[in-house]
Amino acid sequence: MTTKNIHIKLDEMKTNSGLVKNLELSIGKIVNENYNEPMGPTPMPSVTALRDWDLKLLNKYKPFYMPDCDSCCLCTFGKCDLTAGKRGACGLDIAAQSSRIVAIACSIGAACHSAHSRHLVHHLIEKYGRRYPLDVGGLNVKVEAPITRLVTGIKPETLGDLDDVLAYVEEQITQVLAAAHTGQEANPLDFESKAFHVGMCDHIGMEVGDIAQISALNYPKAGTETPLVKLGIGSVDRTKPVVMCIGHNVVPSVGIIDYAKEQKIDENIEVVGLCCTAHDITRYYPRGRIVGPISWELRFIRAGLADVVVLDEQCVRTDAADEAAKVGSPVIAASEKNCVGFKNRTNDTTDAIVDDLISGKVKGVLILDPDKVGEVAVRVAMKIAPIRKRKNVLPSAEEVVTISKTCTQCKLCQRSCPQDLAIPVAMKAATTGDISKLTDLYEVCVGCGRCEQACPQKIMIHSLIIKAGEKAMYSEDNLCRSGSGAVSDVEIRSVGGPIVLGEIPGIIAMVGCSNYPKGGKDVYDIAREFASRRYIVVLSGCSAMAAGSYRNSEGQTIYEEFPGGFEAGGVSNVGSCVSNSHIAGAAIKVANIFAKRNLRGNYEEIADYIHNRLGAVGLAWGAYSQKAAAIGAGFWRLGVPVIVGPHGSKYRRVLLGRKEDPENWNVIDARTGETVNGGPAPEHLFNVAETKEECIVQIAKLVMRPNDTWKGRAGKLSHYIDLHKRYMGVMPNDIHLYIRTPADIPITMKDEIQKILEEHNWKETTIPDPTLLPRMVRKMKE
């Protein structure tokens, strides 16, 4: 690997005391001679090194800001009213403030993933040594870390090499966060560029974490068929003690699984995960169970199913310990980032800790040694399960009716519900003994519990919903494909050409959280729609869980109905949050492996390739977190469009193109150097879809690229028109903007479309060899 450290080479040096010849001295790391790819123009880019590229994108896709708040309260000059053009005491206006919030959110997300990865790398180096080799797919993967290579120019080979990569990421996050201080950056587009930068770093941070854990924890490797694993609350064997791990960092869960295996009691205990920790548990231990996303935390705990709750990091409800205490479940906090106020018992004996937890002397402990977490969690679960006897706080069916009668119909529950659910109506029906409306809420409730916080009668509304939905909850016994990690080079070779030529209509990456507007079924429906049409569907995180939670008319889950590879008509799951890096990595590898573009430190060229040629779309239907914002920002900088569900509007800005403005869509034809119109493809870089139906249509449109061959464009248009007619009820009104030559017209729609083209006075154009980088023209001429 290369480093930034000092490397001195002297052919000959004469001094008073003698002659030195051929002296070569390295201080720091040894230079890796095996990585011969020439270095591109931007290795380890600084905050501004890719600013010009960002501004090209931001000029094409202009921000539309929707401030959540009229004021700024980040310094003591404030609060400052920034309404409608007013500037604050520091001089900042609302556009810059809005973009500053975006940059801060993306920085938090990037810091979160990268700190997670830093912990993993530290821990794994401590356990396996710095020289432990990285292996994400054996001979199936030659480009083991495409994002890292692309951005930093480093080809990591060992766990120790990842240290340097993370050092770069950490520095950049600090630089971007610093720019958000009062009296620094002032321009909205510069804040946007910084958000893009930190998003790119987020992708590196995720990649580092996942390749470290794939290698050292021996997860399934790229190119192998990963197993189907159990998913859902109903899949948990409730006759056994249950350890529930919540969060994203698998390290404590590994301690639990290892201890249970060492004691040969792993068959006698259930180790279940919630949120992305669950994915990584099953990558390490296929007998593990995926309970569900963050929304399932209260359900699982209140139903008394967890005998021990282990909290690691990220997306952990901060009241999980209080909720667990109500059902007598001891809690182990296992992350420095989430100490829960518990006493640090890391250096105490396990006997003492176990005794204190079993006796109820303490409701929880902080243990920062994952092996000790493992022993304590398993021993406590085994001992406390027979004592707890699934103690829960759910009311009986009769109590649901009785409690509902205390509702005053003040509607504060509905007004506090992010989904605006008609809780008062359901409560009123329950007073008559009809709990069916409460049952209906179970499917669409995101489990936030805000209704209970608002209720002046202190009704445990969420518990009533869980009780009413209990039957559905225990029938959640489904299958998820275990996370596959990186996409293999073989898969990239198979699909690279068809994707770039448009013969595979697109890659749909469905990532992220579970803040769904109408339940997880939308995710399943969208994934199935596109898999059926032979798009490549790739999922991760909570979306991968939601997609696996429903069955077709044959009783198959989506992972049984469709093949599990990165292929046309495939539905794959890359794994946890940090595995999202492999989706960006796959796009980068198409440019590298299929198109033979150099990766090393060559960001702009690769992003330009992806933006203009690769029909990929990211969808975070239930995005809620800062991490999701950072993941999105990493895709924006690569030029990959991202759609979020309606709640994603709360990220407070979108990046939109204006399809009716021809100048917006100018590209350079790399063959001639001429500026030509490439059409609104992709039309947007970041947008919100209001409904599932609209989302499906948007996806079908956003996979189009200026480079599409006529055959590819005709196929993509065929899907777009068909889906538009089906879900919007009418023909699209922008077909004429996507047809460049008569050959682009889907053959079965020729007459209909010909008429539309005549109405719009359509004129034939050429299909360009598109680029936004003038230097690519020079390169082609050479």
Binding site: S71, A84, R658, T691, V730, N733
Partner: protein
């Protein structure tokens, strides 16, 4: 009727919508506007009163007032199904961005809208679009027709029952000469 934001946490506004005390006031404002448009969202087929869906009330109002309708999400098909052809259909963010741009000449190219009436989107999403317009199109007037108070609009009906909502919309339609 309350002029608190319908969603309890939606409080961070220094400039708050003027409440519309009665439907006649909303009618007068629409009549005064040269280029009003209605942006109609996906909740119009989710909410009902008087055994009719909200979309049916909006169609009546649009027909009576001759105000152009932009259907967001997948609503265009829902309008057409009911025999009403909206002037345009567009993603909610797309129409929001265009309306915020003073150089945009409207759906028919005849002039930038001077009154934008929003109705029927998810509350939080509509609130954010209204905020975007408040900040970046400060001379534009915005109005909401929902029964939920929207703090970021120029004018908003207060929070109201479904029955009052239906009555308000019916009254507006009748004042425009419709049934």
């Amino acid at each position: 009727m309350s002029c608190e934001p319908w969603q309890c946490a939606e409080i961070a506004a220094t400039k708050k919508a003027n409440p519309i005390p009665k439907p006649e006031v909303a009618v007068a404002m629409i009549q005064r506007a040269a280029h009003p448009i209605i942006i109609a969202g996906s909740n119009l087929t989710e909410r009902s009163m008087d055994c009719r869906l909200a979309i049916d009330f909006i169609i009546d109002l649009a027909k009576a007032s001759n105000v152009q309708v932009v259907a967001t999400a997948h609503m265009v098909g829902e309008f057409i199904k009911r025999g009403y052809q909206p002037a345009a259909f567009m993603n909610a963010m797309e129409i929001g961005q265009r309306v915020a741009d003073p150089t945009w000449m409207g759906l028919d190219g005849k002039g930038h809208p001077d009154l934008v009436i929003l109705v029927g989107m998810p509350y939080y999403m509509q609130a954010l679009i209204l905020s975007g317009l408040k900040h970046f199109a400060p001379t534009l007037k915005t109005m909401t027709l929902d029964n939920m108070y929207h703090v970021h609009a120029s004018w908003s009906f207060p929070n109201a029952s479904l029955e009052d909502w239906a009555n308000n919309l019916k009254m507006m339609t009748s004042k425009f000469g419709g049934n």
